[in-house]
Symmetry: C2
DNA sequence: GTTTCGAAAGTTTTCGAAGATTTGCTGCGG
DNA sequence: CCGCAGCAAATCTTCGAAAACTTTCGAAAC
């Protein structure tokens, strides 16, 4: 009891969800999602006891996943004091957004120049999925917000998919995830009164207009930063210190 | 027997080597160094049996360290097939160097603008240490090359130490390490007939000449790429495929 | 001669527990 | 009343072995 991991074996399809590291990778992805959606709150201590219950896995597996998250900047670890969720701050958001502007425009420009038919198709498709769920409100259920976040990421990934620089794509992806944490807070606390920026972006990209597209995505990023900075409470103050002032 | 990890406990200084995760972090650092210096060769399979002997630690600890290395792009892992050292290629070197030019100039420019006395002191000091070991040759012992690599990194870290963008510094550091792998090969195969680029760089930075310093570091990077591309054998061919052609 | 199947060997992956460290609490002394 | 030493509880860290998977090798069938 307690663990029913293995299916009857013969009945599972050969190309099931088996891709990637299965258990460890699964836990990693779940934890990352939970941090990005602030289910695990910034600065929250991550005790193995609770984590073991929540993700139903062993300490070793958790440790491996946490190790990954530390490298990605989503968690911290110190000496013999265990792990905790990485803190957030306005300064951090400003800093990462600044770099994002460069990486997003760089990768987007390159992707447009190397765009293919399949690339255009995925952009159209992912935008369609995103548009169907447009603008989640404060009072929407969490499941909706999560789904929107997923589709939002898929759309933006599609835009730069044909970029020829793996390293640029890698860092862009990491920063995009980092930004998702702040976007989540914005979705919760602020009213999203943005217009169809994604539609404009899609059309500019499909028209292969590098300058226009890069300008739009830059504005897209900066607008989000400004909105978060002005409307999200608790972002301007630093992480809660426990000892003294 | 087998393991004598713990000191008599009371005699060890409170601020000994205790900083950071001790065991895990130690193994991580050792493995990273070994990959950077190509002791663990590109594409080499990393079997736990051998790793256990080499680093004298358990599977769990190794797995945690490897997890880190995967995030840093120094190792790969696939499904249930274990870990291997990340491959190298000329295309990869060109790609990461291109990004490096941006990140090094960006961080350097910012660091110069925010430079302090302590920053200048560390630059002077680390350059002195580097100059004392200048230009390791092909036939120098490995220990010398390792030490040079260490001092080289320390000098370049010192240059950008006062940069105010943590994310830029983080990515710059990762790419610098990546580049170290290729520098190592260059040290082994090619004759380093470069002149005092580090000295010029130091003086330009201390003179707070942003444009000159950024130009120098850009040339520094591009020259190394060109040298490696033309003189290092085996870099132009892709990783050895095992199955068929 | 080639292919397919199955068993054995080699590796990886996962787990639970023992060892070590930190944290929290209690009581004594200043 | 505050501070500190010492003990107890909680927590993290490390380890070795069992379970699951992949690969290899050899024999039988085509």
């Amino acid at each position: 009891m307690g663990k029913i991991l293995k299916m009857p074996s013969a009945t599972t399809a050969p190309q099931d969800v088996s891709r990637e590291d299965a258990a460890t990778f699964d836990v990693l992805r779940q934890m990352r999602e939970d941090i990005l959606c602030c289910v695990l709150k910034p600065d929250q201590r991550l005790r193995f006891g609770e984590l073991r219950d929540r993700y139903d896995t062993s300490v070793g597996t958790l440790r491996e996943a946490l190790s990954h998250l530390v490298s990605e900047g989503l968690a911290r670890t110190e000496a013999g004091r265990g792990f905790s969720v990485a803190p957030i701050s306005l300064a951090d958001f400003l800093d990462l957004s600044e770099l994002r502007v460069y990486l997003e425009t760089r990768t987007l420009a390159d992707a447009i120049r190397h765009g293919t038919d399949a690339w255009e198709a995925e952009i159209v498709g992912s935008h369609f999925l995103l548009a169907k769920l447009n603008a989640p409100r404060q009072d929407d259920p969490v499941a909706i917000k999560r789904e929107w976040g997923k589709r939002h990421k898929r759309f933006h990934d599609a835009l730069v998919a044909t970029c020829t620089s793996p390293w640029s794509l890698h860092f862009r992806s990491e920063l995009f995830d980092q930004a998702r944490r702040y976007h989540w807070l914005t979705m919760i606390h602020a009213r999203s009164r943005r217009r169809n920026e994604h539609l404009e972006l899609r059309d500019a990209v499909l028209a292969r207009d590098v300058d226009l597209a890069c300008g739009l995505i830059e504005k897209h990023i900066r607008t989000t930063v400004a909105q978060a900075a002005s409307e999200v409470p608790g972002l301007t103050m630093t992480a809660p210190k426990r000892k003294k002032a």
